[in-house]
């Protein structure tokens, strides 16, 4: 990585430089005072940079060199499915007929785009085993909230508005309880058992006539398949609740088990994970939601339908809908990429995606289990969780191991998650990595385990090769500096 003191774009600014080219004004000019009342015109200009084009390119190129992406190197960040982002997806999303269409154009002028969305919707219905899919939610958490709002509307429509509890396992993603709160529910946590699965006894204890839903990731965040899924669905359905599938880990079960067949009533997917989004440095995402028939009336508006004459239409006549969750129709650009990916893989390809994702994770787990503690020793799915408690006894924390991995050119695993594993390291290799890449990473992990015993300081003081060393996060939070301020003089 590029190792230099890095200026902010504002520090490169010099009065009088420009980086743009606007057409000359070809209509009569006006003085702003003729067009706007006094007080409406800005008195102090926004302090934005003044930089010429080459220096803008050099600035952002320098920033890119201080950033690690999947194309830079292995990125086994658990639960994030950092697989290869196909380049054809980027080309297709930039086709003018997709990139340069306005969401409020007359439907007859955007039938190609609507056809793509409809075909994507139909494919996701098949992949999830649900009855209908909406592509509107902007991201996974947005999809969770959308689905919970639908569950709430369903209960209210049945005169059961008193159902105000959402059950979430202790291993759940943090978005689950947060989404439940935003949708107006209270969260109840259900424990995991010694095998890392939801404790059925505890689940039976917490359900009741106030149960609105159970939110579940399967495989769960330990990478383990919830074998008792049918029994769990029965327990929830038995008391009148709905079962929600957090699709963050769908990469583990495509073509092997469909949420709709496992008893789930609704599901959100993260198209930026399983379906190669890409992740964009933190977003944009896309979080479609699939539902079973009895939730269809509550889908957010509008619903994309195919008419008898074969044309596509956005249906707003949905009296029981929860309403709009987002302006327009979702993150179209991401949906185009996901569609391109599905069409690239086809049915056989998607099956192999899951098989290699699971093969790779199990291979890594077995090669690493001698060197790190493996709290749950059984076949994993697309990811597995190691514990650094053995290393912690030697004074090396999981955070140190993660930082040491940076020296080898890797993005570390997800750490300290799920919360029910001490010093957790959640590793998700994905199917797009070669055996050589996996082996090289495993060797690095083994070397770090050895260093922990022989020379712990090299791990404790890592990273040694990055453009910057460990940052003072306490200082950042205690005296927040959230913007650049020009120092005068």
């Amino acid at each position: 990585m590029h190792n230099e003191n890095q200026s902010l774009i504002f520090e490169l600014s010099k009065e009088g430089r420009v980086g743009y080219s606007l057409p000359a004004l070809d209509v009569p000019d006006f003085d702003l005072s003729e067009l706007l009342p006094e007080g409406f015109v800005r008195q102090e200009a926004a302090e934005l940079p003044e930089v010429a084009e080459l220096d803008i390119m050099r600035h952002y190129t320098a920033l890119s060199r201080r950033n690690h992406g999947v194309d830079s190197g292995f990125y086994p960040l658990g639960s994030c499915t950092m697989k290869y982002n196909p380049k054809i997806n980027e080309t297709v999303a930039r086709l003018s007929g997709f990139a340069n269409i306005h969401p409020l154009q007359d439907e007859t002028t955007v039938q190609g785009a609507m056809e793509l969305l409809y075909d994507l919707q139909t494919s996701l219905v098949e992949i999830t085993g649900m009855d209908e899919v909406t592509l509107q939610p902007a991201a996974g958490a947005h999809g969770e909230w959308t689905a919970l709002m639908m569950i709430r509307a369903f209960h209210e429509a049945n005169g059961e508005g008193h159902r105000n509890k959402v059950i979430v396992p202790d291993s759940a993603h943090g978005t689950n309880p947060a989404s439940a709160s935003v949708a107006g529910f209270e969260t109840i946590t259900v424990k995991s058992n010694e095998e890392g699965l939801v404790d059925l006894e505890d689940l039976r204890r917490v359900v009741g006539e106030d149960t609105a839903a159970l939110m579940l990731t399967n495989p769960n965040t330990l990478g383990l398949f919830e074998e008792n899924i049918l029994e769990m669905a029965e327990i929830i359905h038995g008391v009148g609740g709905k079962v929600y599938y957090d699709g963050a880990n769908l990469n583990a079960v495509m073509s092997k088990a469909r949420p709709g067949d496992m008893g789930f009533d609704c599901v959100h997917l993260n198209l930026h994970k399983t379906f190669t989004g890409p992740h964009g440095g933190g977003g944009p995402g896309s979080g479609p939601v699939g539902v079973k028939a009895d939730l269809i009336p509550f889908l957010p508006k509008p619903v994309l339908v195919k008419k008898e004459d074969g044309s596509f239409h956005f249906d707003y006549n949905r009296p029981q809908s929860i309403g709009r969750v987002k302006p327009y129709y979702g993150n179209f650009g991401i949906n185009v990429r996901a569609y391109t990916y599905i069409r690239t893989m086809g049915p056989q390809g998607l099956k192999e995606v899951t098989e290699y994702a699971v093969l790779n994770a199990n291979y890594m787990m077995r090669r690493l289990e001698q060197y790190f503690d493996l709290p749950y020793n059984r076949h994993c799915k697309h990811e597995f969780v190691l514990s650094g408690r053995r290393q912690k006894k030697l004074g090396v924390r999981t955070l140190d191991i993660a930082k040491r991995l940076l020296d080898f050119g890797y993005h570390p695993p997800t750490i300290y998650f799920p919360l029910n594993v001490e010093e957790g390291m959640m590793i998700e290799p994905t199917e797009t990595e070669s055996k050589e890449t996996l082996d090289a990473f495993i060797d690095a992990m083994i070397q770090i385990a050895r260093e922990t015993e022989e020379n712990p300081s090299i791990v404790q003081e890592a990273p040694h090769t990055t453009v910057i060393s460990r940052l003072d996060e306490t200082r950042a939070a205690r005296t927040p500096i959230l913007r650049y301020t020009k120092i005068e003089g």
Partner: protein
């Protein structure tokens, strides 16, 4: 099958199975109960080769009427603006777009610094103390602002101007329902929020007053007056602002706004049929710890070098779970980067120049419509949109315009029943005099 995204060979697979100690990959799925074990393959379309798929999707794209080959006067929240060519070159660098959230700051300084710069640019444009790293879009950002206001004031009512984008209002209403917050609409008068009605409606249970700037009709609201009314009732003042207009207009931060939100789509982001866009969220230092979403802050490393980290994370869902300020877990980092590059390219002067061209060209269009005999009902100060009254149905006129390669304006009657036969025309810096003249002429002909 061998696929270009799947690098394992048959030999690799054998070796790996041996290491794991199983005979076949299927054994790894033995924990899936038989009755739900999916058999066979998905019933979806067969895979296509790279070239064949590209050909098919190009044909599909060509079925759409785009704003590059047609001349667009459609705005209503999403605009056809100048996009500096460098924007796409920067966001196509895969170190940016194939990365995820910068959880490991040592190898994510590029993304973190880019966001820190974005936060600064938004704070500058809006005149607010600080901005977050971005939100899904302008609509959900406005909804989150409403939720923050209700939580902060412990009040359960939002006053929402009818001159806010109807789809934004709909999103606010959905979020509000989840939190049992009441929505009260403030009617408009002469195309702006009706101040007298606002005074009538506001009470001591009002969490916030929400307006749009410029509003949905392109008219510029008097923020100072509305903000004072909100504050007198001890409610918050929330403004949804077009950040390009803020190149010229007095920023909400100088006019009493407590929260300013909006969409940075106007800066280098294509229309893309509804998304992804780039919501922004800016507020005061006082509300800093209640902001939804991610924030990047400056700090130092062990050697005292300046660096950036995700900060104030105690607000967020992965720490606070059900007590988080919001459930938002991602941001629109790549679009925030795109907007930053566009704002940088335009710079201090370009943002003003471009904003001014929008106002001046829209004024030219307004005069031309009036000269051609059209009525422009709202005569207040405007930015880059005007409302034009027609004799014939707007969708009929638009159907004829598209035959001439013109994408007509937004049919206001679809949202405001009282505005049947009224069209919202957007005129950006990209529209030439010739194009505006042609629009007025054709509309005159089709309206007769």
């Amino acid at each position: 099958m061998v696929h270009r995204y799947l690098p394992m060979t048959e030999q690799d697979k054998k070796d790996m199975l041996a290491t794991i100690g199983v005979e076949s990959v299927n054994e790894l799925f033995s924990d899936i109960p038989e009755s739900v074990h999916f058999q066979g393959l998905y019933n979806i379309k067969e895979a296509k080769s790279e070239s064949a798929l590209l050909k098919e999707l190009k044909q599909l794209a060509a079925k759409n009427k785009d704003t590059e080959t047609n001349v667009s006067f459609l705005g209503a929240g999403i605009y056809n603006h100048y996009k500096p060519v460098i924007v796409d070159h920067v966001i196509s660098r895969s170190e940016f777009y194939t990365a995820y959230t910068p959880y490991q700051p040592e190898i994510s300084q590029g993304e973190l610094q880019a966001i820190f710069e974005f936060q600064t640019m938004i704070a500058e444009l809006t005149g607010m103390d600080l901005a977050n790293s971005s939100m899904y879009d302008g609509g959900t950002s406005l909804a989150e602002a409403g939720m923050l206001a209700a939580g902060h004031t412990r009040r359960k009512k939002l006053l929402v101007s009818d001159a806010i984008h109807s789809e934004y209002r709909d999103v606010v209403a959905t979020y509000a329902y989840g939190q049992s917050i009441e929505i009260v609409n403030i009617p408009t008068k002469n195309g702006v929020t009706d101040i007298d009605q606002l005074k009538e409606l506001i009470d001591d249970n009002t969490a916030a007053v929400m307006v749009q700037y410029p509003n949905f009709f392109g008219q510029i609201e008097d923020l100072q007056v509305i903000g004072d009314i909100a504050h007198e009732a001890k409610g918050l003042f929330i403004v949804s602002a077009n950040p390009l207009a803020l190149g010229i207009l007095t920023p909400p931060g100088k006019l009493g706004a407590d929260i300013t939100v909006g969409d940075a789509q106007v800066f280098g982001i294509p229309e893309s049929f509804g998304g992804p866009y780039c919501g922004y969220f800016a507020t005061t230092t006082k509300l800093m710890r209640k902001v939804p979403g991610r924030l990047v802050g400056e700090t130092v490393d062990q050697e005292g070098r300046r660096g950036y980290v995700l900060t104030l994370q105690a607000r967020e869902q992965h720490i606070r779970r059900e007590k988080a300020t919001s459930n938002i877990c991602s941001n629109q980092a790549l679009l925030a980067l795109a907007a930053s590059v566009a704002i940088t390219a335009l710079g201090k002067k370009g943002v003003q120049d471009m904003a001014k061209q929008n106002i001046v060209k829209t004024r030219y269009a307004k005069n031309a419509f009036e000269a051609a005999g059209f009525t422009v009902p709202f005569q207040g100060a405007h930015f880059n949109e005007i409302v034009v009254k027609t004799n014939k149905a707007v969708n009929e006129i638009n159907k004829q315009l598209i035959q001439d390669g013109i994408i007509g304006g937004f049919d206001l009657g679809t949202v405001y029943p009282e505005l049947q036969n009224h069209v919202l025309i957007a005129v950006t810096e990209l529209r030439t005099k010739e194009e505006i003249d042609a629009l007025v002429e054709k509309m005159g002909a089709y309206n007769a």
